[in-house]
Symmetry: C2
Subunit: 243 residues, 2 copies
């Protein structure tokens, strides 16, 4: 981009990134919700994604550390609570562990994260470092994959329930919660980006932040595909499904 | 230090740093609680320290971003809540603004932080960067000035009430709260440091972290002294007390 966009044009450009690059387009996602994964592949996905779930509250804390205004931190911290929990809410990490439990993965093994793929670790760490080190605007913009998340969560819930006899409704609490949380979260972030990306370099940075984030998500599914679909090259130390 | 210390010896060494270098030893602190400050000097202190208060929750978020274990974040976040507030608790930043209000400082001016001394800004930013960039152990150890804080808060409350007719009890809520919060906080941090600083380099890092933090506090009072006591060299742009 070389010309300054209006806020609506910027939002359109951001939404286009989702249409073109969000990980719902990835072959592994299509297999997962379409019922073409075997149980070991679903386990590998849940095990690896646990590390992503653990990284999100750290990422949100890193972002809050960059917020000089208390009001912004108070706005943003609900995301942190969504994952680590607060009061009655056990939080998303705990809900994710209910899924890995129900898939038959040992909880200590999951929490140790020792069986995850190296590329999962790198992608999640890259996300935390991006948010920590870049300007606040870029960090906030990188959260905007939430624009595209509700559709994928719905797809996961219905697809996984219909297609896998080892998945039942009680395992999918995480996704159901996210259906409510993501739209609420994205409202603040989108409005912030629309108001604060007012120069060409800022708009470019905002678009790049969302490209970066779609890459973070995509790379995790790429790694799963290579290791557990084809050519089935599981790296040393990574989880080996039973059978 | 060259020999490995026992946990008790390490704690003694940490406490010695407080005895030798905590900012209760600084001439400005002695003036402040001893009643030798004029109102402008008390205002300048409260104005500058507001920026430190604002930095603390950012520092705690930066530290939490470095905590891979949810349980540690849940333990640490009470410190964050102490400053930004949660539910009924308005938080320490708001309590500090009650003090600056009562001292006759304009709240918008205080919150803009535009009148603070450059050295205040540098010290606070240095603290946030230290915690963000150093190992978690160093970041936790840097909080251990809380070992020495209750004594100074008590001194401030009694000294300021006795010595200044422009200070009353309602202005000192921040310090009264800290009397309860600091001992609770320090227990976790001290126990963590005792358990995790188990090599000579780690113990050296922990001691250096506390030296660093005492310097962060000392430098802020040095800057106040130079600008507002003697030689009364207020830097360009910094707050100029009335009269």
């Amino acid at each position: 981009m070389t010309d300054l966009l209006s806020p609506d044009q910027l939002e359109d450009a951001l939404r286009t990134i989702g249409v073109e690059r969000y990980h719902n387009l990835h072959p592994f996602h299509k297999m997962l919700h379409g019922g073409q994964c075997n149980k070991g592949q679903v386990q590998a996905w849940a095990l690896n994604r646990y590390y992503y779930q653990c990284g999100i509250p750290r990422k949100d804390c890193a972002l809050m550390a960059n917020m000089e205004q208390k009001e912004m931190r108070l706005e943003w911290r609900q995301r942190y609570f969504d994952h680590d929990g607060l009061g009655e809410d056990e939080g998303g990490i705990e809900r994710w562990l209910k899924l890995t439990d129900a898939l038959g993965l040992d909880r200590d093994y999951v929490m140790s994260t020792e069986g995850i793929l190296p590329a999962t670790r790198h992608a999640v760490e890259a996300y935390i470092h991006f948010v920590r080190d870049k300007p606040l605007l870029d960090g906030i913009a990188s959260s905007l994959t939430e624009l595209f998340a509700p559709a994928i969560h719905k797809e996961r819930i219905s697809g996984m329930l219909v297609n896998y006899d080892f998945v039942d409704d009680s395992m999918l609490g995480y996704f159901r919660e996210r259906l409510n949380q993501a739209p609420r979260d994205v409202e603040f972030a989108l409005s912030y980006v629309r108001r604060h990306a007012v120069t060409v370099p800022q708009q470019r940075a905002v678009l790049n932040a969302l490209y970066f984030k779609t890459d973070v998500l995509w790379a995790q599914l790429d790694a799963l595909y290579l290791a557990y679909v084809e050519p089935d090259m599981i790296p040393p130390g990574a989880y080996i499904p039973a059978g």
